[in-house]
């Protein structure tokens, strides 16, 4: 039998239900795996050992009493540290929230707990989810488990690295412009960004509210489906969460791809793309064709405007959302006297890191008098055109297939001093956030340096099931998922 920390989430949960292993044993195995590999990965900001063992004991008692312990019974999981957890520090990887202990759970945290999952750690990310490498993190460095000199991707870098390093069986991240899919791609795991409104945002620290969405990172497609099943669905506490019924994602895995039409967006095979990334993605396309899918070229003509549109809109929303950090009700207050206004300015200056300040400045500028029409309103109009591109493509095809990023994981420090180059890391992931659509990243190869390459599937709104079905068919025909870089 393989080590407990190597089990998929659904295998682990099945064994707990069959009483072959206890939730406590799984939790202890995860905690000892964390002790062994965390020094080289740095995925976790807060290890919740005491709370995890207490939660596992409750699951074990429920199993012993013959109760249904849930879909994810006893499965050790981690949450990106922008997801609020009652009584457990939640920092958004920011100095301004370094000591913040939420009085309540985010809906997604509560739903995972109701499904029987055991929270073992809060995971590192870029500060307030602003970044593509988890280097804009004030409280720790996360390294790619495949190569410690490389980034894990971002902003949910800890969520991807912890799953890849087998510290947790699955995790949650958030994706505003690629923050689940990019790190999933860089770390060789499966990551899904659901349709805007599919998953509650209640208790998730806001970055750009019209795009933010929570989703799973997992070792394979089946686990991603299971975790999505546990968190999806309407939440009265989030007015933007959809009332649409949630289908069975687990059942969707069986369908195969025969007869499905896949679109290859020509703008997503960009100049300067790493050649082995393009080769692996095109090989994956051929694999799906061999399974019975048809593939045709499509065009998303406004793709070249997506970066500017995305950074103007998200920075504007962020500058507004982050106005709440004022040193009054919670968060850091800078020491020293002075007026209320001086206290605000000094607290925010001390609490926010350079990238967060840059985005607040960009957003405040784009919203300020005299520039609003030229930047913010213009970006909102282009957002409409970007959405129309997708609507036109989806008139012909069931899903789009593309790379996740133009390259594999880059080196730590390589792009950190050049914000615009860092923003370009998101070029293939941000458009679907602007349109509100779902996307999934799954491993489809290794480059010449042995680093994972990600395949991206983009779906129609609320059609996560088709994406999972295609992903499962590809996974069954390839052997890239479920590899671990650290023995």
């Amino acid at each position: 039998m393989s080590a407990l920390h190597d089990l998929t989430a659904r295998d682990a949960a099945a064994r707990v239900r069959r009483r072959e292993v206890s939730a406590t044993e799984l939790t202890r195995a995860a905690l000892s795996r964390i002790t062994a590999v965390e020094p080289q990965v740095g995925a976790i900001l807060t290890i919740c050992e005491r709370e995890a063992l207490a939660a596992a004991e409750i699951i074990d008692r429920r199993v012993a009493a013959g109760e249904d312990p849930g879909l994810l019974a006893g499965v050790p999981v981690g949450l990106k540290d922008n997801i609020c957890t009652a009584g457990i520090r939640t920092t958004a990887s920011s100095r301004i929230l370094e000591a913040f202990v939420p009085p309540y759970d985010a809906t997604v945290a509560a739903r995972l707990q109701q499904a029987g999952a055991v929270l073992v750690g809060k995971l590192n990310c870029d500060e307030f989810a602003m970044g593509s490498s988890t280097e804009n993190a004030a409280l720790g460095v996360t390294r790619n488990p495949w190569d410690p000199e490389r980034v894990a991707g971002g902003s949910s870098g800890g969520s991807a690295a912890a799953v890849a390093a087998r510290e947790v069986h699955a995790s949650l991240g958030s994706d505003t412009g690629g923050s689940i899919r990019l790190p999933a791609s860089f770390c060789g795991v499966v990551g899904m960004k659901p349709t805007y409104g599919r998953v509650s945002r209640y208790g998730v620290i806001a970055f750009a509210s019209s795009l933010d969405q929570v989703g799973p990172l997992a070792r394979d497609v089946g686990d991603a489906a299971l975790v999505l099943q546990a968190i999806a669905g309407h939440d009265p506490a989030d007015g933007t969460s959809s009332q649409r019924p949630v289908p069975s994602y687990v059942a969707a895995l069986e369908g195969g791809v025969r007869g499905l039409r896949l679109g290859l967006p020509r703008e997503y095979f960009v100049e300067g793309m790493q050649p082995d990334v393009e080769a692996s993605v095109r090989a994956a396309v051929r694999t799906l064709e061999a399974q019975g899918a048809t593939v045709e070229p499509v065009s998303l003509p406004h793709t070249e405007y997506a970066i500017a549109t995305y950074y103007l809109i998200t920075s504007a929303e962020a500058s507004s959302n982050l106005a709440r950090y004022d040193g009054v009700r919670y968060g850091l207050r800078a020491a020293g006297g002075g007026t209320l206004a001086e206290m605000y300015e000094r607290s925010r200056a001390a609490g926010f890191g350079p990238e967060v300040k840059r985005r607040i400045m960009l957003g405040t500028y784009a919203l300020s008098a005299g520039y609003y029409d030229a930047y913010y309103l213009k970006a909102q109009q282009v957002r409409t055109l970007i959405r129309r591109d997708f609507e036109q493509a989806f008139a012909h095809v069931d899903a789009l297939i593309a790379p996740v990023a133009p390259s594999t994981a880059f080196r730590l420090g390589e792009r950190v001093d050049d914000p615009l180059t860092m923003y370009l890391s998101d070029i293939l992931t941000i458009s679907l956030n602007l349109a509100g659509l779902p996307g999934i990243s799954l491993p489809c190869g290794l480059d010449a340096a042995g680093l994972p390459i990600g395949l991206q599937l983009i779906g129609k709104a609320f059609d996560e099931a088709t994406l999972l079905r295609i992903a499962a068919a590809y996974e069954a025909a390839s052997d890239w998922t479920a590899r671990s870089p650290i023995p």
């Binding site: 000591a99 202990v101 805007y196 500058s319 200056a349 909102q380 509100g436």
Partner: protein, 95 residues
Amino acid sequence: MAITREQVRRVASLARLRLEPDEEERLTADLDHILAAFTRLEALDTTGIEPMAHVEDVPVPMRDDAVTNPPAGDGLLVNAPARDGRLFRVPKIIE
């Protein structure tokens, strides 16, 4: 267009951020560089295109006018940087 140091100071003041001189210099260069790259939007004709503020067209949901959250207790105050009993404490506002 070029972003000036004066504009950066004005925006920082709107955003309630106190910037050190080296941060001001860096942000002036960064915003100039970023916004220069974003000028490509100007070339795109968006006459008559509706701005999109949100993905879903569904109206804001209404609910009954009933209190559903528990009374605000100590939980709201435990993270306060400074408090005075059941109040948040702030620097003096009126001289």
